[in-house]
């Protein structure tokens, strides 16, 4: 017996929610319970009174599933608004990564040179290691990490994507 799967698309969703206990569990649980994918998820409160949080979710699935994900999110009482940045038009996406590289000699010099090209900042250094801080769209971070793999990559921490519409309008 075969289990079918359909063509997937990547979508970035910006979700504003009441900042109340359990909301993150509700959202992540919804994804697991209904079999949706989460590529990344970030959350932090965004208003002065800490009452509202913004969650950015990167997901993938066929168009019909993406539509269901949005509808299911909107069904949750604490969810104010779901915006599909990918569908809504031009938007920016940024991610922050911390990347630790250890090595000596030629590799170390090369790592530093590439870091400059990528405009990564050195935020910690020892004689045999660097910690780089890099922000940018996820694919830029991907390529930096894959270059560092050759040059003594030790560990990676990534924040996940935060996204926003271009232009003067909200979201």
């Amino acid at each position: 017996m075969k289990i079918k799967s359909a063509e997937s698309e990547r979508h970035v969703l910006a979700v504003t929610v009441d900042n109340e206990p359990g909301i993150l569990a509700k959202i992540t649980g919804l994804f697991t319970a209904r079999g949706y994918n989460i590529d990344s998820l970030t959350v932090a409160d965004i208003t002065e009174d800490h009452a509202v949080s913004r969650i950015t979710i990167v997901t993938n699935g066929p168009p019909q599933v993406i539509d269901q994900i949005e509808a299911q999110l909107e069904r949750l009482v604490p969810v104010h608004k779901v915006t599909d940045l990918t569908a809504a038009g031009p938007h920016v996406e940024r991610e922050l990564a911390l990347i630790k590289v250890a090595g000596k000699g030629e590799a170390r010099v090369e790592a530093l040179r590439i870091a400059e090209l990528f405009r990564a900042k050195v935020i910690d250094t020892t004689i045999s290691s660097f910690v780089f801080e890099l922000t940018g769209p996820p694919d830029k971070i991907d390529s930096f990490i894959s270059l560092m793999r050759e040059l003594g990559l030790v560990s990676v921490g990534r924040s996940g994507v935060v996204g926003m519409m271009r232009g003067a309008e909200g979201v």
Binding site: M1, G22, G29, Q68, R75, V77
Partner: protein, 574 residues
């Protein structure tokens, strides 16, 4: 307590325990709210569901922490899938003990997170009043559903110095869209008015929307002249006696309803959710129709079946808009379409074999339901069911012409739902005849609630179609597993008559068809609870049936040779 009274609560279905003792103490001697003591918390939740479905008001449940809450979960999940308004108050260990594996601690909010419309853990007594208010609003508006409020024991005792509001007064964070945009209404009218083979496919949403929605549905059908079918959950919204009534659709629906769904050119789905029991194989579901879907929950629209026009709104409100927009158009001549339907009707798909092959003397279960209907319809009874063949026979052979008279567990399909639901319905409608049409296996799942009916002197009736099998399971085993009846025989059955008598009920057994009518009359006439053990044919199957993975046009009908096995694809479907 005051909050509950403010919400108009008449009954609370519950069971006490350590973590809710403070609330129980408040209930003591309070005349305004009647507490109904069940025998198991599952019974409390189903009774609240039955009360809600039969009255349109929210059902309220009160249970203790830990096992009290976990026992109620089945009923909560049931209410979630069937969109039943319900507020469940659960006790919790004191706030300081949460997370310490304290005595009778369970993560109720975690456990019920995905089977409630919303849930709360109230940690600050100042939030309590606003939480209860919001819980009732969420449970009853939009698409109804269960809401759980978990209250730690110390929060129950504390007297708040002030009461906070969750949101600014007047502005509600939950505000479902009721009214549909005018352009969508116009587009729908255009499609319906020009259809040559329209069909109205209605569901539980019409019942959820209140009795006015059923009235408006009848009016709209009259204006458009379109034939109408309903899901299991929508029975009663449209009269079964109407010439345009096609009967229920879906897996055990009528031949004419399913054929008409398959061949229609415009389908208007009103408050139904294209459940898999209804659609059969998706790629063969009504392939050539333009589909309009009216639903209050956006996630129901385009979930499994893509539609051409999704209209977000409340059934009653949208029907009113449609009726107004229709104006004084006269209905189109649908003669040709109705003639085709008459052809399908002539197949008489509900005509069951007269006699059982194995036991020619046995009462046919379909016959028993037909007689029950004939002898009680004058009284317009409320019917609840358990889950299985008897449930489907009740849906097929009992007629409903009013909403809120049909209580069944459709989405979750919970055996053990029927008796507590009947108890709840009887409390909400003391003068109505309430009958649970049951199976001998299902009834044992909440048999303890016999005691609840006795205690509150509720004259509910239970009519068991006793086929000595989990008939629905046996039927699938016959169709799919070459009649290997693995564990589907109801062995070691109790003597139901004696059991009823032990609880102070009247018990009646029917074994001979000649006694059927008289025994049903005796049941109705007895002023008190009655359990009827109606022994029926053991081998009867429930048809028509769309087998798993089949299309609407591939129904099995009485007289078809059934049995054998299926390929893995079909076996994997439920």
């Amino acid at each position: 307590m005051e909050c509950l009274v403010d919400q108009g609560v008449e009954y609370v279905f519950g069971y006490p325990g350590g973590a809710v003792l403070p609330i129980y103490d408040e209930l003591f001697g309070d005349e305004r709210i009647r507490h109904i003591l069940v025998r198991h918390e599952a019974g409390a939740a189903h009774a609240a569901e039955g009360y809600a479905r039969a009255t349109g008001k929210p059902g309220v449940v009160l249970v203790t922490s830990g096992p009290g809450a976990t026992n109620a979960v089945t009923g909560i999940a049931d209410a979630f899938l069937d969109s039943i308004p319900m507020v469940v108050i659960t006790g919790q260990v004191p706030t300081a003990l949460i997370g310490t594996d304290a005595f009778q601690e369970a993560d109720t909010v975690g456990i019920t997170r995905h089977c409630t419309k919303h849930n709360y853990l109230v940690k600050d007594p100042a939030d309590l009043v606003a939480t209860v208010e919001e819980a009732f609003r969420i449970a009853t508006t939009g698409r109804p559903g269960p809401v759980v409020i978990d209250i730690p024991k110390d929060v129950q005792i504390a007297v708040p110095s002030e009461s906070k509001t969750l949101v600014a007064p007047g502005s509600h964070r939950y505000a479902p869209q009721m009214v549909a945009p005018a352009d969508q209404i116009a587009e729908a009218i255009e499609l319906i008015a020009n259809a040559q083979a329209p069909i109205l496919y209605t569901g539980g949403g019409v019942i959820n929307s209140g009795s006015r929605a059923s009235e408006l549905l009848r009016k709209f059908q009259d204006m458009t002249n379109a034939p109408l079918t309903s899901t299991l959950m929508g029975l009663g919204a449209f009269p079964n006696t109407h010439p345009d009534w096609l009967g229920m659709l879906g897996m055990h629906g009528t031949y004419e309803a399913n054929m008409a769904m398959n061949k229609c050119d415009v389908m208007v789905c009103i408050g139904a959710r294209f459940d898999d029991r209804v659609t059969g194989r998706l790629d063969a579901f009504s392939p050539d129709s333009t589909k309009i879907h009216i639903d209050i929950d956006r996630s129901s629209i385009n979930k499994t079946v893509p539609v051409d026009l999704g209209i977000l709104g409340d059934c009653a409100t949208v029907l009113e808009q449609l009726i107004e927009a229709w104006g004084d158009r006269s209905p189109r001549d649908l003669g040709e379409w109705k003639a085709r339907i008459a052809g399908w009707r002539a197949r008489e798909c509900l005509a069951y074999p007269d006699r059982s092959k194995k036991d020619p003397k046995a009462i046919m279960p379909q016959k028993a339901v037909e007689r029950l209907y004939e002898l009680t319809k004058e009284k317009s009874p409320i019917i609840s069911t358990e889950v299985g063949q008897h449930q489907m026979w009740a849906a097929q052979y009992f007629g409903f012409d009013k909403p809120n008279k049909w209580l069944t567990s459709g989405g979750l399909g919970t055996m053990g739902y029927g008796m507590p639901a009947a108890i709840g319905a009887q409390l909400g409608n003391p003068d109505d005849l309430v009958i649970d049409i049951a199976g001998e296996a299902s009834i044992q799942m909440n048999i303890q609630e016999l005691g609840t009916a006795s205690q509150y002197r509720l004259p509910v009736k239970i009519f068991i179609l006793n086929n000595e099998y989990m008939g629905m399971v046996r039927q699938w085993q016959e169709l799919t597993y070459e009649s290997r009846y693995s564990n589907s025989y109801s062995d070691s059955l109790p003597d139901f008559v004696k059991l009823a008598e032990a609880y102070g009920w009247k018990g009646i057994r029917i074994t001979d068809e000649a006694d059927l009518d008289a025994s049903i009359m005796a049941m109705i006439e007895h002023d008190g609870p009655v359990l009827v053990d109606c022994c029926v044919a053991k081998d009867a199957n429930c048809l028509p049936m769309i087998p798993s993975g089949a299309a609407h046009t591939e129904m099995l009908l009485y007289g078809d040779e059934v049995g054998g096995t299926m390929d893995d694809e079909a076996k994997a479907l439920v």
